[in-house]
């Protein structure tokens, strides 16, 4: 199989965001068929002073090597994908995600994450979100294998 070379990741324009969180509602609709947003959304908009920050998976894929059952794979379109049916809910990916973007909601044991579907982009009334194409080689990160930090 030809390996994907690029992946779409979310880009955030904080100056445009007004904090309505329509993106979160759209996201939880995709993952849990509810407009609750919040902990059921893979994208989170967090107020920081007078502006907002986005917190979401950047598809770097460190979690791919963490999964003991192979539930995490990079899809043809480059997106890091969690197959819920294969997942055994161990939370290794959640614990090891360097930015805390692999999320866990109370309703199920399996985690969930951003799949770059663009629902949030379409839902944003301010055009504060967009999907941009990145080279996987530029963002890819692997779990440390080295013996100790200094070696």
């Amino acid at each position: 199989m030809e390996k994907p070379k690029t992946v779409k990741v979310l880009k955030f324009h904080p100056s445009k965001c007004k904090g309505c969180k329509e993106c979160e509602k759209a996201c939880s609709q995709i993952h849990f068929k509810t407009k609750e947003g919040g902990e059921k959304s893979a994208i989170r908009i967090i107020k920081s002073g007078n502006s907002y920050q986005m917190h979401v998976c950047d598809q770097r894929g460190l979690c791919l090597d963490m999964c003991p059952v192979g539930a995490l794979t990079r899809k043809k379109n480059g997106v890091v994908w969690l197959d819920k049916n294969t997942c055994i809910g161990c939370q290794a990916c959640v614990g090891f995600c360097p930015i805390g973007a692999m999320r866990k909601a109370d309703v199920q044991i399996e985690p969930f994450k951003c799949i770059s579907c663009g629902a949030c982009v379409r839902a944003c009334p301010e055009n504060a979100l967009e999907l941009v194409e990145r080279n996987i080689e530029d963002i890819k990160e692997v779990v440390y294998h080295n013996q100790g930090r200094g070696h």
């Binding site: 090597d65 963490m66 999964c67 192979g70 794979t73 055994i88 939370q91 290794a92 866990k104």
Partner: protein, 774 residues
């Protein structure tokens, strides 16, 4: 180094591949018995029934797990003790047909959220010790056994021909089948059975099978271990973890069981149906994060597993070299963890159960076998773990490749690396003294460092060589001591005191000469000298945190109880203190790792729905610990004389050892024994050795006194009926047996302290029959 983010299908080990005609193999199976059962589901960690199989009558039945059983025995090893108690009698020995081989799980076994939650606890009457041996092991079998519907399996009786037991959680059947043509050695047998019983030809299906097996050497030795397989979807290899200690594999093969296979249809993150899955996810995720952030600066388990200990032990003079004569060695750096790190395949995750991000189960892939029947094959070697590296040091093998060769053959032949390595190191020392020689060793030149001879011995053992030495030596140090003394080949004192066994079981790989508490940590154990009850060397020797007998006794109460707890629940001990919270050093009792103890309180409550606190966890263990000791008494052992340890574990047996650490021992004579400097200077080494010997033996007796008292036992080490009642036991058979034993001891004058106390020193109490007031 293999880069990360390689799709799982594309990982390659470079191992040799095998072509098995599985259809043909399977067609030769004759089904002796098939039993259909309702698969059911696990409720709050318990399947609520156990599986009983009798190989004499081919009877298969289910036994209920009662609430009383949970209350008294918690689960796991505790259930194993209860099942044994109901099935054997005081004259049962390892090869009696009523002896059982028991594999248990525990209520937390099979949880995926918290690292180290896939352990099985195995029990039997050991061929080495004639008492109960318990051994814990990773791999998928335990969780799968529970998810197919059983908290434990007990196998009684002996089959007439080689059989396998198949627990099929997909069809809901349990079968006993003959298996005449399968391989016996584990690395091939596990592969054959995994491929044979997988529902589909996919890695996913193969991952749903786990095989328990031993090997050819287990048939001829008392060191038989059981291998528990787990299929690695990245390496596409059936990997194995070992229930090593005490000869479980010997009993498995004596029962003519080639393998036990468990197959699950489906499992997920909540197959245990825990009371509070979100709590589990929360504490599990927190521990994953601790491991992520701290492991590389603490133990480096994720990079090299337990092998990191070799360099630490060598630095502190604790790495056993040349049969524990020394604690470090000039060549030791050749087998430090960086050397193995170079050989390990760096593929994360390396947990032996899902979700264990300690990931200590390292492998060397495409290892080229150097000797024996699999010479030139490229295989995956699991490990080596520290203990196996320590065996290398003990046998003076300073080449990582020979340690891997030793490790590979021990595993596939189904023998314990620890017992095998420790015993061979002893034979090598006798060889050095000329007590053994080439002729007496059936032509083997068993001198220190001779790796070829070590492997040749193992191959002969596997072939069932009937030479006198091979036959006796494969039964372990205790039998060799008796044999060599009977032959009058050497000084009985030397033969007895330098062989590192206690209760008939070989020591694991730590030098304990300078830590009295750790001498107790080995000697005052239930099953024999294994470090899984207590590891107190740093607390005692390095940090001097437990200076008095009372302090040491408290540590030898708390830590064995605490560590027993993991085995009642199906857990691994490593995530408790091989990673510590960042603020652990600032807590009241850093050695206990209070932050993680609290995790375990919440963990057990979250699975079972109980409402226990940390004191209750210790109580759970105390019940089982005392019950096991009481059963050892019932089996005719479990007394002070059985807690004897060889002097090699306490001090210098030989002049060379004394002289190699003369400053240390002289200092001990000056400062602890109180010999005047002028006098010491005039003394011969032999005289100094004798005084040190008497002193350290007496110290050990005093330690026993303090520990027995703390544990609620008599001075002869018998758990008192009063203590047993306080723990909630009302079993009349057990209580009256203990009372009779204590009365008998009284007549023989054995209810007296063992230490000689000078003026100003006191035994734990001067009251006779102090327990009667409890």
């Amino acid at each position: 180094m293999i880069e990360g983010q390689i799709p799982i299908e594309e990982y390659q080990t470079g191992n040799s591949t095998h072509e098995f005609n599985l259809k043909n193999l399977h067609s030769k199976h004759k089904i002796l018995k098939e039993y259909k059962y309702k698969i059911g589901s696990v409720d709050r960690g318990f399947a609520n029934r156990t599986l009983y199989i009798n190989l004499d009558s081919n009877e298969i039945k289910e036994k209920p797990v009662t609430e009383k059983m949970k209350k008294l025995f918690t689960g796991g090893r505790g259930f194993g003790l209860k099942l044994l108690w109901d099935s054997i009698n005081p004259s049962t020995r390892w090869d009696s047909k009523e002896n059982e081989l028991i594999i248990t799980t525990g209520p937390l076994c099979g949880v995926t959220q918290y690292p180290g939650s896939g352990k099985s606890l195995c029990l039997t009457i050991s061929p080495s010790t004639d008492i109960i041996c318990d051994s814990n092991v990773g791999g998928f079998f335990g969780p799968y056994l529970k998810f197919t519907g059983f908290d434990a399996i007990e196998i009684q009786g002996k089959a007439r021909e080689d059989v396998i037991i198949v627990i099929d959680g997909e069809k809901g059947t349990i079968s006993i089948e003959t298996a005449p043509n399968e391989e016996t050695n584990s690395h091939l047998l596990a592969e054959q059975l995994t491929y044979m019983y997988a529902s589909e030809d996919t890695d996913k299906s193969r991952q749903k099978i786990s095989v328990v097996s031993a090997g050819e050497a287990a048939e001829h030795s008392y060191w038989g271990c059981m291998n528990f397989s787990f299929y690695d979807i990245r390496r596409k290899v059936c990997r194995m973890k070992q229930a090593g200690r005490g000869g479980l594999g010997t009993v498995l093969r004596d029962k003519k069981v080639k393998a036990v296979v468990a197959k699950v249809e489906h499992f997920d993150g909540v197959s245990n149906h825990p009371a509070d899955p979100n709590k589990l996810a929360e504490i599990g995720t927190n521990l994953h994060r601790e491991i992520r952030d701290l492991d590389r600066d603490q133990c480096n388990m994720r990079a090299v597993g337990t092998a990191h200990l070799a360099e630490i032990m060598n630095e502190y003079d604790l790495l056993p070299t040349e049969n524990y004569r020394f604690g470090n060695f000039p060549k030791a750096s050749k087998i430090f963890s960086p050397e193995f790190f170079k050989l390990f395949s760096k593929i994360i995750p390396d947990g032996c159960w899902h979700g264990c991000t300690m990931a200590c189960a390292k492998t060397v892939d495409a290892f080229t076998v150097m000797t024996g029947p699999y010479k030139d094959d490229k295989v995956t070697v699991d490990g080596p773990e520290y203990e196996t590296v320590g065996c290398g040091a003990n046998m003076s093998l300073w080449d990582p490749l020979w340690i891997l060769e030793f490790n590979f053959y021990c595993d596939t032949y189904g023998i314990d690396t620890i017992s095998t390595g420790t015993a061979i190191a002893y034979y090598m020392e006798l060889y050095e003294y000329g007590i053994l020689n080439k002729e007496r060793c059936d032509g083997l030149e068993l001198c220190f460092g001779n790796a070829e001879a070590v492997l040749e011995f193992m191959h002969r053992m596997a072939q069932g060589d009937t030479g006198e030495f091979v036959t006796i030596a494969s039964k372990g140090i205790r039998r060799v001591k008796d044999w060599v003394k009977e032959k009058k080949w050497g000084d009985p004192f030397l033969i007895e005191e330098c062989g590192m066994e206690s209760k008939g079981l070989e020591y694991s790989e730590y030098v304990t000469k300078e830590s009295l508490a750790m001498q107790g940590g080995y000697g005052l154990t239930l099953k024999g000298p294994q470090h899984d009850e207590a590891w107190l060397i740093f607390m005692d020797m390095v940090n001097n945190q437990i200076p008095t007998f009372q302090d040491k006794a408290e540590a030898l109460h708390y830590f064995p109880m605490w560590r027993t707890w993991f085995g009642l629940n199906g857990l691994c001990k490593l995530p408790w203190n091989d990673v510590e919270p960042a603020d652990n050093a600032e807590t009241d009792e850093p050695a206990k790792v209070p932050g993680h103890v609290q995790n375990y309180v919440e963990y057990q409550n979250a699975v079972t729905g109980w409402n226990v606190d940390k004191e209750e966890l210790i109580l759970q263990s105390e019940r089982c610990y005392n019950w096991q000791r009481a059963m050892n008494v019932w089996l005719g052992r479990g007394t002070r004389k059985d807690d004897w340890i060889p002097y090699r574990s306490m001090g210098p047996v030989t002049k060379m050892e004394y002289l190699s650490r003369q400053e240390r021992y002289d200092k001990c004579l000056l400062e602890q024994v109180g010999i005047k400097k002028e006098k010491l200077e005039t003394m011969e080494t032999e005289e100094k050795m004798k005084i040190l010997y008497d002193y350290r033996q007496n110290q050990y007796q005093k330690l026993m006194d303090a520990v027995y008292h703390r544990r609620g036992w008599t001075p002869n080490g018998i758990p008192t009926p009063q203590k047993m009642k306080a723990l909630g036991f009302t079993d009349k058979k057990m209580l009256s047996m203990l009372q009779r034993k204590i009365d008998k001891d009284h007549k023989k004058g054995l209810n007296a302290w063992g230490g000689l106390y000078n003026s100003g020193e006191k035994p734990p109490t001067k009251k006779e029959k102090y327990w009667e007031a409890w």
